[in-house]
Symmetry: C2
Subunit: 399 residues, 2 copies
């Protein structure tokens, strides 16, 4: 059979990371490639107890169809908590529940872009989001990153010159893949630019709660006087990713359209885990769980940075994030992250090459991403020195 | 703010049914409008036990990220069971797990259609699917139904005359909304037509297991020698809809593209319920649960048909389905289902007007859908005679 596949899907390749995930089922491979939270951060005792309670006492609601916008108590709880704690959301905003934060990119693309419209993104950025924008045949254009966030001149130039710029996609805090946090000063200037050029910002914030050092920086959403920020939150990194639960805080007018799109995409998010998470939030133990996760991740990050300082060649430039799950290593310009990743894999170390995260993936990129949340401290102690040796050998061969 | 919404979303209205669902939270309303399975069919004792077991013994797998194609044991179990029991699937097919059957329409639209390509559908059909095709800016064209399935001449005419016909969407067994089952003879001719005109068939089969009378009719997928049927199954009507779990059996080449699209849509389906359903299927009690559901629904259907015979005016023509959740009532041509539904709602009876399910929704349609799975037998005994009175008054006013 010769199938007619759409123009939208033909250029898309399977996510290198999701594919690698299958492959790292090989237990001999030490993986610094994934983005999984550490299972020891799952609040399993509470999930067990709350699940049993819901299946005993409220099972009809948990197993029956629900409304597309999400479980009402959870929506209302998030709305008031986010507003109270983080100044996220105004009277004209509301909250909808989605099947993981990834779905926000899918629904927003459908609702806010026509084919050929431009989506701007930090470059590099999260491949799941980039692939989603590609799958709507948008014109995906990247804005290079500095250590405090995007290059503002390049951002404004893109807004001026690219066709129909509709969306700007950002992970402003502990960005995936770089670990970079956009400074408050840059946030203010970026917000001015989106107002000036009539662009909607998707503020993807899955890692914001995972801060190990430094002070919280206000979100874009908290400064959204013009109602042009779609804020995306997730429970994947602070409760569990397997439950597929995220949320959107956006102007009610936008959320109404996203809801229509969601009806046609998956009807609604699974009810049971909406109820589990609502109960978990009501009980008030999530801050303790986040604190526990931060302690675990902070130790792993510091261990990794110390070992990098000790074992990586000095030509490798590494970001030093204050939170999140990732850091980023830049190699000298003549290096190729893909070749280095292949070499590392032959030594049973998995990393994701930088090229994977770029808006244009057809050019080699001299860098790679390291994940520190999933490997154990023993894995980090074992893997980073070996990676340092491989790096030295690889860079020496380039000379 | 004046938001730029996409051409794809602007024409789409919220599903009248999903919207009504909110509204029928009013406990005084007797609803024959929804499509919910009866909660007494949920296998709650088994779900409780299996859930506790998984959260005790396999919780890391249940709460961690999974692979996009779905939980491998469930995929393999479905593949072998469907093949063995229903001759569904060949060596060149495989199974992927999705977040409810609705997601199949979303992913297939993305992968198999460009904007402007034609999607053919039974007319009337399931609004969730129709809205999904609309949300990809396809040319949605309806083929009228006879009592044994689509009008074949109209189907062939559409295949010949509509631009780039890529997909045919059908619910061949106990169709939503009509309750009609396409005869074997028509299935064979329709399969010939899709081969002749190079069309891919989406065979949506959420109700196939819910047969209360007559003999099983082979699925399109079981006769798919040319590998052009995408079979969509669901656990919503035989286990629980709130868990959002369905699956696709399709040629591996198509499923590979659908997987790429799913990565960008919601990463993967929630892991926990994939494991719960896999364990439930392994234990082998689903046939007993289906038999129990069939007994409950069969009684409700027969009760409703008897009361319709007794209380509805003779000008109302009702389908007499052998399974599923719905039947369909056609009124005389001068009637308008929307007006009748409004009238019924004023008497606290909810139904969905026929117009809602049509490919072209801008023309009045003289008919409506009745659901018999969700109302209790007492509701049916109370509601149908009242509906008969309202119908008589409404039709008398039309004279």
């Amino acid at each position: 059979m010769n199938y007619h596949f759409s123009d939208k899907i033909l250029p898309l390749k399977p996510s290198a990371i999701r594919e690698m995930f299958k492959y790292t089922e090989n237990p001999n491979i030490l993986s610094f490639g994934g983005g999984n939270p550490a299972p020891e951060t799952f609040p399993i005792a509470e999930i067990r107890r709350i699940s049993a309670d819901i299946l005993q006492n409220r099972y009809v609601e948990a197993l029956q169809y629900g409304i597309t916008e999400g479980y009402r108590p959870l929506r209302e709880r998030l709305r008031s908590q986010l507003r109270e704690l983080h100044n996220i959301g105004t009277d004209s905003d509301n909250v909808i529940i989605i099947s993981g934060a990834q779905q926000a990119m899918d629904l927003v693309s459908k609702v806010m872009t026509n084919e050929g419209d431009t989506v701007l993104s930090e470059d590099p950025s999260f491949i799941g989001a980039l692939n989603c924008f590609r799958s709507y045949n948008t014109n995906l254009a990247g804005v290079p990153m500095a250590e405090d966030g995007m290059d503002l001149a390049a951002l404004e130039h893109a807004m001026k010159t690219q066709p129909n710029v509709r969306l700007l996609y950002m992970i402003p805090t502990f960005q995936n893949p770089t670990g970079i946090t956009t400074s408050l000063e840059k946030r203010k200037k970026i917000y001015e630019l989106i107002c000036q050029y009539d662009v909607i910002l998707i503020e993807d914030n899955p890692y914001g709660d995972l801060r190990y050092a430094g002070e919280e920086i206000p979100t874009f959403k908290s400064m959204d006087e013009e109602h042009r920020v779609i804020y995306v939150g997730s429970f994947s990194k602070i409760i569990s990713p397997g439950i597929r639960l995220g949320y959107i805080v956006a102007p009610a007018e936008i959320n109404a359209k996203l809801t229509v799109a969601k009806q046609a995409a998956d009807v609604h998010t699974n009810m049971f885990f909406q109820m589990v998470v609502d109960q978990y939030l009501e009980e008030g133990n999530i801050d303790a769980n986040i604190a526990r996760a931060c302690e675990i991740y902070s130790r792993k990050l510091n261990l990794m940075l110390d070992l990098i300082d000790e074992y990586f060649p000095k030509e490798v430039k590494t970001t030093r994030p204050q939170g999140g799950l990732f850091l980023w290593c830049d190699l000298p310009a003549e290096a190729d992250g893909v070749k280095f990743a292949d070499l590392a894999l032959r030594h049973e170390l998995a990393i994701v090459p930088g090229q994977t995260f770029m808006c244009r993936t057809n050019r080699p990129y001299p860098g790679f991403r390291l994940n520190f949340s999933m490997p154990s401290e023993a894995d980090i102690r074992q893997g980073i020195p070996v990676m340092g040796q491989i790096l030295k050998a690889y860079l020496a061969d380039l000379q």
